[in-house]
C-alpha cells in the first residue's frame, strides 16, 4: 500500500479550536480510499526535508506561539516555497495563514513578521470576528459552499490584487469583514481563517487536497466515499446560515 506523508508543523504550538480534526479527516479518508497515511509531527528546532513530504498542515495559534513558529520556520522558508511552487498541498489555518503574509501588527502595536510568501498583511483590532461562516469557493473547479467557524482579531488585507482568495463570503466576516474575501488559494495551497475544523464538514475540500497529493505522486483516486453524514452536517450549518 502506498503511504502518504503529511507533516503537522508544531502540533504543540499550533492547534486551536480542534484544528487537528483536519488531519484526522485526511488520514481517515486516505485510508478509506485505500492508502496508508503517516502524520509526521514536527517540533521547534527540527529540520524538515520538505521534498520527502506529500502535504504540510499548520493549525492556528496564539500570538506568542506565532512568533516562536516564525523564527523557526523562517530558516526553512525557501525550501518550503520551492515545494509550494511545485504544487505541494499546504493547508494553513488562522494564525498560520497570517504567517504566510508580510506581517501581523497586533492591537498593542507589536510587529510579528511573516514568511512573505504573499503580499498581504494583517492588523489586529479590539473586536474579534467570531461566528459561523459560509463561503463559496471554486478551488475544486466547480462552485462549492464551505462552512466553518471563524474567531480572529486580525484583519487581513491584500496589497497584491492578483492574489486569489480561497472563497467569497456569503455569511460571516472573512479576511477583514469588509471586502467579502476569505483566505487565500495558490496552486494547491489554501490559507484560511476557518476552524470548525475545516475539512470534516467540507469533504470536497478534503478531497481537493487528496486529489492533489495523488496527482503529484502519479497515483489515481479510485472509487467514491459515502459522504452522507458529512453532507448532512454541512447542510445543517448551511441551512442555519442561509435559511434555505
Amino acid at each position: 500500500m502506498e503511504t502518504i506523508k503529511i507533516a503537522h508543523l508544531y502540533p504543540d504550538l499550533l492547534n486551536l479550536y480542534g484544528d487537528r480534526g483536519n488531519l484526522i479527516c485526511l488520514q481517515k479518508r486516505l485510508n478509506w480510499y485505500g492508502f496508508a497515511c503517516h502524520i509526521i509531527p514536527v517540533e521547534l528546532g527540527e529540520d524538515i526535508d520538505f521534498s520527502t513530504l506529500d502535504m504540510v498542515f499548520m493549525g492556528g495559534g496564539s500570538d506568542r506561539e506565532q512568533n516562536l513558529v516564525y523564527r523557526d520556520l523562517f530558516r526553512q522558508a525557501d525550501a518550503l516555497w520551492v515545494e509550494i511552487e511545485e504544487g505541494m498541498p499546504l493547508l494553513a489555518i488562522c494564525g498560520s495563514y497570517q504567517l504566510l503574509g508580510r506581517y501581523y501588527e497586533s492591537i498593542d502595536g507589536k510587529m510579528m513578521y511573516g514568511l512573505s510568501f504573499f503580499d498581504f498583511y494583517t492588523e489586529g483590532e479590539e473586536k474579534r470576528l467570531i461566528g459561523n461562516i459560509i463561503l463559496e469557493t471554486e478551488v475544486t473547479g466547480e462552485k462549492k459552499t464551505v462552512v466553518g467557524f471563524e474567531n480572529h482579531g486580525g484583519r487581513t488585507y491584500f496589497n497584491d490584487d492578483t492574489l486569489k482568495p480561497f472563497g467569497k463570503v456569503l455569511r460571516g466576516y472573512g479576511n477583514n469583514g469588509q471586502d467579502k474575501t476569505e483566505g487565500i488559494s495558490y496552486k494547491n495551497l489554501i490559507g484560511t481563517y476557518l476552524h470548525g475544523p475545516l475539512l470534516p464538514k467540507n469533504p470536497a475540500i478534503a478531497d481537493f487536497f487528496i486529489q492533489a497529493i495523488l496527482k503529484r505522486k502519479g497515483l489515481e483516486l479510485k472509487g467514491e466515499l459515502d459522504d452522507r453524514i458529512e453532507n448532512f452536517a454541512h447542510e445543517q450549518v448551511k441551512r442555519m446560515l442561509l435559511g434555505t
Binding site: 504543540d12 480534526g21 496564539s62 474579534r128 476552524h195 470534516p200 453524514i229 458529512e230 448532512f232 445543517q236
Partner: protein
C-alpha cells in the same frame, strides 16, 4: 438606604413573579436590583459574618462549591450560594437578594460564590473574599474570552495587593503559579501517585509551556489531562508541596480516598470529581471544620442533575451526563470504560451561547476512546447533530451504527429502544434540562404502564 431597600424589594418581586411563571429566577432579579442600586452587591456582602469564599476555574467549580456548601450546612451554618450557571455578577447579586430580608440586614455566616474565570476581577471590585479557590484552567469558552493566557493574567493582576488566601491546585501548571508576585497566601492541594496515572497523556493539553520561561513542561506522571506531577527542565518550576494531599484513591463504584488524616467516600464517579472533593475538603479544613463533619457531609452528598443521574425506563438504566468541553468529554468517556455493560450512547450537541457557539471542541477531545466502551449504537442529536455524527464517524464508529435524530425526544427514545444494556445520555448545557425532563417523563410513564399491566394481569 432607600435606594437599597427599593432595589431589594424590586429584586424580590421579580424573583417572585418569575417563580410563579415557573421560570428560572437566577439572573434577572439581580440585574434589576443592580440597575437601581449599583452598589447593592457590595452592601449586601457586608452581611456575611464569617467569610466569603470565591470558587473559580474551568471545570468542577459547581461540584466543588456544592460540596463545600454541603459541608458548611452540615455544620449548621447559614450560607449564601449562587446557582450553577448563574455565575456572573447578576447571578451572584440574585443569590444575595433572595437570601436577605427586606431591609437588607439579615446575617449569614458564609457566602460561597461560584464564578467564571473572566468574572473574577469584576467580582473582586465589589466583594472582599477571604479565600479564592481555583480548580483548574482548561481550554473552555475560548470564544468568549480569547486565549487562556490572557484570562490567567487578568486574574493574577486582580489579586495583586489584596490580602487574601488562595487555595490552588498544585497539580495544574496553569494554576499552581498564581500566588507568585501577588503577595497572597497560598494553600495547595494535590494528589500523590495514584493507580490511575499514566506516563503519557492522550488528551490535548493546555499549559504545555512554562509560564515563567516558555520552555516545554515535562511530566513525571499525569493524573489526567494537564494535571499531574510536572517540572520545567529549564527554570525548575514544579508542583508546590501540597498542604492537602489526596492518596489511596479508588474509583471503583464511586470514589474513596484519603486526604491527610481524613477518610472520604462518595457516590460521585470519575477522577475529576476526586479533584473536586479534594478542593472542597481543603477549603473546609482551612475554615476550621472538623473531620467528622466533612466526612459525613461528603458521604451524604448525591450527584445532582447532569452529573451522572440515573433513570430507569422499562428496566433499562439511562445515565444523564453534562459534557461541555474536551476535558469533561474525555473524563466521561474514561468513566464509561469502567462500566463493562453494553451501551447505547446518545449525544446532544447544541451551540447556543451558554454551550459555546463554536462546536469544534469535540475535535479536541479524544472521542476515539469510544472504541473501548462496548457501545451498540451512537445516537446524534441537538442543533449540531451533524457535527457530532461526523466526529463519531472519524473517531472510528461505523456509519451503520450512527443514527442522527436532531430532535432530543426522538433521539432519547431511539437510545432506549436499541439493544444495549444501558444508555448514556450525554448533553451540552442548553439541552441538559430538556433531556432530563424527557427522561423523567419516560420514567414516570413507563413505571405507570408497568403498574397498569400488573393490575390488569391480576384481574
Amino acid at each position: 438606604m432607600l435606594r437599597k431597600i427599593i432595589a431589594i424589594m424590586l429584586g424580590k418581586i421579580v424573583w417572585f413573579i418569575l417563580k410563579i411563571l415557573g421560570r428560572q429566577a437566577t439572573v434577572l432579579p439581580g440585574r434589576v436590583a443592580r440597575l437601581i442600586d449599583r452598589d447593592i452587591l457590595k452592601k449586601l456582602s457586608r452581611n456575611i459574618s464569617e467569610e466569603i469564599i470565591v470558587i473559580t476555574g474551568t471545570n468542577g467549580k459547581t461540584t466543588t462549591s456544592n460540596m463545600l456548601a454541603g459541608i458548611l450546612k452540615e455544620k449548621g451554618y447559614r450560607i449564601v450560594h449562587n446557582q450553577a450557571g448563574a455565575n456572573m455578577l447578576t447571578g451572584i447579586t440574585t443569590a444575595f437578594i433572595k437570601e436577605t430580608d427586606i431591609k437588607g440586614r439579615k446575617k449569614h455566616h458564609y457566602a460561597i460564590l461560584e464564578t467564571d474565570e473572566a468574572n473574577v476581577p469584576l467580582l473582586l471590585n465589589e466583594v472582599k473574599p477571604r479565600m479564592i479557590l481555583i480548580t483548574n484552567f482548561f481550554r473552555d469558552q475560548l470564544d468568549r474570552y480569547g486565549e487562556l493566557d490572557h484570562t490567567v493574567r487578568l486574574i493574577k493582576e486582580s489579586i495583586k495587593g489584596k490580602s487574601l488566601e488562595l487555595v490552588l491546585n498544585a497539580d495544574d501548571p496553569m494554576v499552581a503559579h498564581l500566588a507568585s508576585d501577588t503577595g497572597a497566601t497560598a494553600w495547595y492541594y494535590g494528589f500523590s501517585d495514584t493507580d490511575y496515572d499514566s506516563l503519557e497523556s492522550r488528551e490535548s493539553r493546555e499549559g504545555r509551556y512554562c509560564i515563567f520561561c516558555g520552555h516545554e513542561i515535562s511530566y513525571r506522571r499525569y493524573h489526567y489531562a494537564q494535571l499531574g506531577s510536572f517540572f520545567c527542565p529549564k527554570c525548575g518550576y514544579h508542583n508546590p508541596e501540597p498542604h492537602f494531599t489526596g492518596y489511596d484513591l479508588s474509583l471503583q463504584g464511586g470514589i474513596s480516598l484519603r486526604i491527610n488524616d481524613l477518610k472520604i467516600t462518595s457516590s460521585y464517579q470519575g477522577f475529576y470529581n476526586a479533584y473536586n472533593i479534594l478542593a472542597a475538603v481543603a477549603a473546609a479544613k482551612l475554615l476550621g471544620i472538623e473531620n467528622e463533619v466533612i466526612e459525613q457531609a461528603i458521604k451524604k452528598y448525591l450527584p445532582p442533575s447532569g452529573r451522572m443521574e440515573t433513570f430507569i425506563i422499562n428496566g433499562k438504566p439511562a445515565v444523564l451526563v453534562l459534557v461541555k468541553n474536551p476535558t469533561g468529554l474525555n473524563q466521561t468517556l474514561h468513566t464509561l470504560q469502567y462500566d463493562k455493560r453494553s451501551k447505547d450512547v446518545f449525544f446532544a450537541l447544541n451551540d447556543n451561547a451558554a454551550d459555546g457557539r463554536d462546536v469544534s471542541w469535540i475535535w479536541d477531545a479524544d472521542v476515539e476512546m469510544i472504541n473501548d466502551i462496548n457501545y451498540k449504537m451512537v445516537i446524534c442529536s441537538g442543533k449540531r447533530s451533524g457535527d457530532i455524527a461526523v466526529r463519531m464517524k472519524y473517531a472510528g464508529v461505523d456509519s451503520e451504527r450512527i443514527i442522527i435524530r436532531t430532535l432530543l425526544k426522538e433521539g432519547i427514545e431511539e437510545a432506549l429502544r436499541s439493544e444495549g444494556e444501558t444508555a448514556y445520555i450525554l448533553s451540552t448545557y442548553t439541552a441538559l434540562f430538556a433531556c432530563r425532563d424527557i427522561l423523567q417523563e419516560l420514567q414516570t410513564s413507563a413505571s405507570a404502564g408497568e403498574k397498569g399491566s400488573k393490575s390488569l394481569s391480576a384481574v
